[in-house]
């Protein structure tokens, strides 16, 4: 699997709008064949910070995701909400193994 964590910091007052836009995007993203999971997390001690936990089946899947209508809608909707540029980190799974992932 290809695991991507996207770290997001939104401007004050944008928390709820970001939650709504990201929930909609995630619920569509999990229907893509190349996406195993697409979790949206909000930091407990700083609600202006979020992490997207994206699990892709293969190297082609992240690019295909960025071509979808729901991704583009999300990207445009949240653009003005960012307090700073998004950062991301890429990981591979040690556990569970690819065939055990759910």
């Amino acid at each position: 699997m290809i695991v991507v964590h996207v770290y997001i910091h939104v401007k004050p007052g944008c928390e709820e709008a970001f939650r709504r836009a990201s929930e909609e995007n995630a619920s569509q993203s999990v229907k893509e064949p190349g996406i195993v999971r697409f979790d949206v997390l909000q930091q407990s001690d700083d609600p202006a910070r979020f992490v997207l936990v994206e699990i892709y089946r293969d190297a082609a899947a992240p690019g295909l995701h960025k071509e979808t209508a729901h991704y583009k809608k999300w990207r445009d909707a949240v653009e003005s909400m960012m307090a700073e540029p998004r950062k991301s980190a890429k990981y591979t799974n040690v556990y569970p193994s690819d065939h055990e992932w759910r």
Copy 2:
């Protein structure tokens, strides 16, 4: 859900031993009733960095996890592998909702 991300940086040469110890701990941890997921991820551009993605059902579960034999075995095994102290961040789930989590 209570989501905890634990950021780990191991000393050079400890990557494989850390993988093995963490895989064993994770495979036992997912059997705990309070644990939904326990993923071990290795950073693609720096294999000495790992993230544990721990999903707990309730506030009691993290404490119960730390009392298990497998956690204590892992904690002691990896103690000398750390390049710096572990850091963690706590999150709540925006998506999926608690009843949709798998």
